[in-house]
Symmetry: C2
Subunit: 235 residues, 2 copies
């Protein structure tokens, strides 16, 4: 039975032995068929994983927002022919805060074996580093862009953090991070805790938990840095 | 400034190069102070990470449900003295579905640097493999034990999966897995999808998504296997 491997990549410019088990290299080196989010970064990842790889002998299928469900299902043909395949996302873990879930759902529906490999997830690493509740947490992706909707969404997350004792995690497009931070500081209560995690697994990694009140006195520079925000109730 | 490293361990009997980056070994080998959930498994982990390690030269602090907050704060004294420390949980990632969050919160409050290392998380790996929504998901830990409360909790998770388009993830004590599975099959709608993930990262790994209706025709044997359950709306 052919296997679909879910292959994490790095979260930025970092050495692979910092963030990936060596087993992943063994798996990647043996695969000939890949479903990838971006061809250029996928090639770069594969070349860095195995410098002697013959990229031209590999087959790539491109998976992004424009891929139709019909196209998607054709991507699995190599599995039906008995070939193992790998899914590579642009950064981090495939199918987590990234495309890939649809292709995995199709593989599951067709009874193929699905094997996720270990790698860096900014969601999980930031939650570990936050000191927030790791027994109950939710990741909700991007918040609405329209200011009143966004403020409402932030207040809803904050009230769930208190009512359900659940850490609330969300992200923003890097160039809008500072705007997001200002909106969090305006919308949330002074004693609520906010963890800001930027450049996870990189040299400039920053993971810091403070109360809203404390953050108001000193804003970190998050502009254009990949960043994740976590909200949790006061100590 | 001293650093608190959060050090993932394995999820069972598996080779470390399958699940841990080699960088983790470098960090672990350099540390002299550890906060651990169980002394015996911590020693075993350290010995397997670095066979030439001198265990007797290391200092251990035991962190579990019985540790008072006062004791906890004394655990950080080596950090105040300028020594890096490591937190090891019993299995998987510290502070995720495991103790450790309190000690991280204290380290954050005292402005120490907190660095989470990459490793296996059954929550994240099962979500990747499920084919469920990875752009919005919640982990809620254990469900209530009392049958009517549990059924109510399952129905609430199911309705949130539909209403908020959010994957819902939870766990059970291994010897109660089969009972949990029966209760899920009784409480949820026939078209709702359930992913069962057992023995993650082990030789016997099993990650399978089916509808409730499909699961009813064939129950997997989950007894005493570490297991995680995920619920999501129908395709």
């Amino acid at each position: 039975m052919a296997t679909l491997y879910l292959i994490p990549t790095s979260l930025g410019d970092t050495s692979f032995n910092r963030i990936l088990p060596s087993y992943n290299t063994e798996i990647v080196t043996a695969l000939r068929y890949f479903i990838v989010e971006d061809l250029r970064t996928a090639r770069r990842f594969l070349k860095k994983t195995n410098p002697s790889i013959d990229i031209d002998s590999l087959t790539f299928f491109i998976l992004n927002q424009h891929t139709s469900l019909e196209e998607l299902s054709s991507f699995l043909l190599p599995l039906f022919d008995g070939n193992d395949m790998g899914v590579l996302s642009e950064a981090g873990c495939p199918a987590i805060a990234d495309p890939g879930a649809d292709i995995v759902a199709m593989a599951q529906k067709n009874n193929f074996k699905v094997v996720p490999l270990v790698g860096p997830s900014s969601i999980l690493l930031s939650l570990m580093g936050s000191g927030f509740n790791g027994q109950s947490f939710a990741f909700v992706g991007y918040l609405p862009i329209q200011p009143t909707d966004r403020s409402k969404a932030l207040k809803k997350l904050e009230s769930r953090a208190y009512a359900e004792d659940q850490s609330q995690i969300f992200i923003e497009t890097p160039y809008r991070n500072m705007k997001m931070l200002e909106e969090i500081l305006m919308s949330c209560q002074l004693n609520t805790r906010l963890c800001i995690a930027a450049d996870i697994t990189l040299e400039t990694e920053f993971i810091k938990t403070k109360t809203i009140k404390e953050w108001k006195t000193q804003l970190p520079d998050l502009n254009k840095r990949p960043c994740i925000f976590l909200i949790y109730k006061s100590l």
